[in-house]
Assembly symmetry: C2
Homo-oligomer: 396 residues x 2
């Protein structure tokens, strides 16, 4: 006598978690240096020094009752103002603290937004393959349907024709994730402008807004001078979900926000619905010490040097062996083609050599594998000969 859906979600095995656990077991047997674990997207560069400095200073010098006391549900007003100020300066747009709803990271942000946009059992929220696998339970648990546009395997941008065809009267929103997990690709301004055109046209056709949910935990993780375009400047009905997990290397501290632009259709009511959703999802008032820390560190930028070194080493190493990879412009993921097209078989073969790579099936596309390069440079160096071995071993 318990909820079968929740039970299913809680007892389901996860391919990524299983690979990670296998890696820990193998490390105990063959030695840590002989396991090449590219399975987990956990930041490998520490939080900027300013983060811990701010935390220490707040604990030492501010009133403990205020530091650890409740904030209002969407967060401290001054913390939201500090974050909004930096965001406004950087994007050259008008953003106020009152447009931000602080959350315990990007997951609650996405779930609150999807809950706020759920109308009935016919409601659809669209994704773009490859996608973060948790989108499905996040959306389905609110009662809506998750449907997705198949991957554009040429560029890992967006198959716009199919997107346009898939939008119908029940489509409430499209979720995009750029820089992308798992592909590492950054959606270009051109792609986003075409998406905006399609959404505008379809919003008019169906006489209701079709929102764009921009899931941006990797926004700051871009390389080679590339920038992730600011989506609300391209499409006015954009809701941004952000997390400091990657940009400040604070994944465990659960802090992020939802940005509901004032110009959004029904902005005030959507904000209220998000507040109501957060209330019954149980994550109003995100952790207060960390709220104050991110407010002080609003202008901090991650030091991406280590990721960039890894990225180039792995990308060029794999290319030289003969692997085909998506353009690795952002995040800390590399998405490569399984030489003979069977991602699960390839991942299994790698696993036999303690090389742990995630097959792409759960991301909504077949025939690829994901590598997280938030690892040590040494591990990448040691892994390249193994990648060469498994590549050479693939039958013609």
């Amino acid at each position: 006598m318990y909820n079968q859906y929740c039970y299913g979600l809680g007892s389901a095995s996860s391919c990524i978690r299983e690979l990670f656990e296998y890696g820990l077991q193998q490390a105990a047997i063959v030695g840590k240096e002989n396991v090449y674990d590219f399975s987990l997207g956990n930041p490998s560069i520490p939080a900027p020094a300013a983060v811990n400095k701010a935390a220490m200073d707040i604990i030492q010098n501010e009133d403990s009752l205020l530091v650890h006391g409740y904030s209002s549900a969407p967060g401290f007003a001054d913390a939201r103002d500090a974050v909004a100020k930096e965001l406004a300066e950087r994007t050259g747009t008008e953003i106020h603290g009152s447009d931000l709803y602080f959350t315990c990271g990007a997951a609650p942000a996405l779930i609150s937004v999807c809950s706020a946009l759920h109308i009935d059992a016919d409601t659809e929220i669209l994704g773009i393959a490859p996608f973060f696998p948790e989108y499905r339970p996040f959306i389905e648990s609110t009662g809506s349907k998750f449907v997705y546009v198949p991957a554009d395997t040429d560029q890992f941008q967006i198959d716009l024709q199919t997107l346009e065809k898939m939008i119908n009267k029940n489509t409430q929103a499209l979720i995009i994730n750029s820089p992308n997990n798992p592909s590492g690709v950054v959606f270009s301004k051109e792609t986003l402008m075409q998406v905006a055109d399609i959404l505008t046209k379809k919003s008019q056709e169906f006489g209701k807004p079709i929102y764009l949910i921009s899931d941006e935990p990797y926004r700051e993780l871009v390389y080679d001078g590339i920038e992730a375009p600011w989506v609300p400047s391209i499409y006015h009905d954009t809701i941004v979900c952000y997390s400091y997990s990657k940009s400040l290397s604070l994944p465990g501290e659960r802090i992020g926000y939802i940005y509901v632009p004032a110009k959004l259709t029904d902005a005030k009511n959507i904000f209220a619905a998000i507040a109501g959703a957060s209330r019954v999802l149980g994550h109003v008032c995100p952790p207060t010490l960390i709220q104050r820390v991110v407010a002080r560190c609003a202008y901090e930028k991650p030091d991406l040097e280590a990721y960039d070194v890894n990225r180039k080493l792995l990308y060029h190493g794999l290319k030289e062996i003969g692997y085909e990879c998506a353009s690795p412009d952002g995040a800390f993921y590399l998405f490569a083609k399984a030489p003979k097209g069977d991602a699960k078989a390839f991942s299994e073969k790698c696993k036999q050599k303690n090389l742990l790579v995630v097959p792409s099936d759960d991301f909504g596309v077949e025939g690829y594998f994901r590598l997280c390069y938030c690892v040590s440079k040494e591990m990448i160096e040691r892994s390249l000969p193994i990648f060469a071995e498994v590549f050479a071993d693939e039958p013609e």
Copy 2:
């Protein structure tokens, strides 16, 4: 085109919040010293020194990547073990870290448990008046019904006869909250044993477990040598929801846990369903720095002296004036009878004198008002003549 239920929850006015905001406004006009705000249950004693000391030490001396990195979904194994060890010692029962699921405070804990126990639209979860008003949205948002046993206004224990009559085949659980918000009453061992008898009998009658959800954020806040009985030792199908918000004065840091005893009926499956619920509610892996802090502070106890001084001063002061109060054995609330029985009118009359008290209607009982005595002693002293004035002013 947004979710009307969430919108309603997010835009609803809250009596408590309105009183609090009114107090802030009035303070600006008549001076802070002339406003007597008993509306908010925010701890007024700071976190024990050990809490900030532990946080500083962890930040300074532990690996930043581990401190701020993801924990597993139910929390760090060593932190869960540390908390379980203290709990096992204190209660004299066998409790393991693996029985605990860390959460972002008591709210997500309750919501996850209610989600895990939701079967269909007929599912009922019972409460006992007076109750924490958020129980209703927490339960209704999962799709279950919230029904409650009317208050036992003699003792503010539990009307056992009515409880027994209200349990039916759709009853999945009973939520209790002791020490109680808003009454300040602690349920006696005798009351709890009778509740256990009823639940055991009804579980047999309906051939399925009826769970007891023990919501215990005030467990450590008890006075005069009274102890809140350890509920799982009285009824085996008890699930405990706990928060450090009050015991360590950390309400803003969002840390607590669900304890699923190994002996619970379907323990493993209920634990998995809770894990699944937490996943789609978006609060797996509670804030990691604070997880480590509470693990180090598992043996810390709150210094209740200031609350106890306030409690006695207010309770005896009100009694002398002529007010009738529930027995104030725990938490930091006093629950008193509105002299002429109309709580809203009485609260409104008090408000005219900048004395802010919460009428009991939202707690599921009429004719009472709640006072939070987590305030300064001076404010209580200054408020007593005002309480006398409004009492004398009540028409016979």
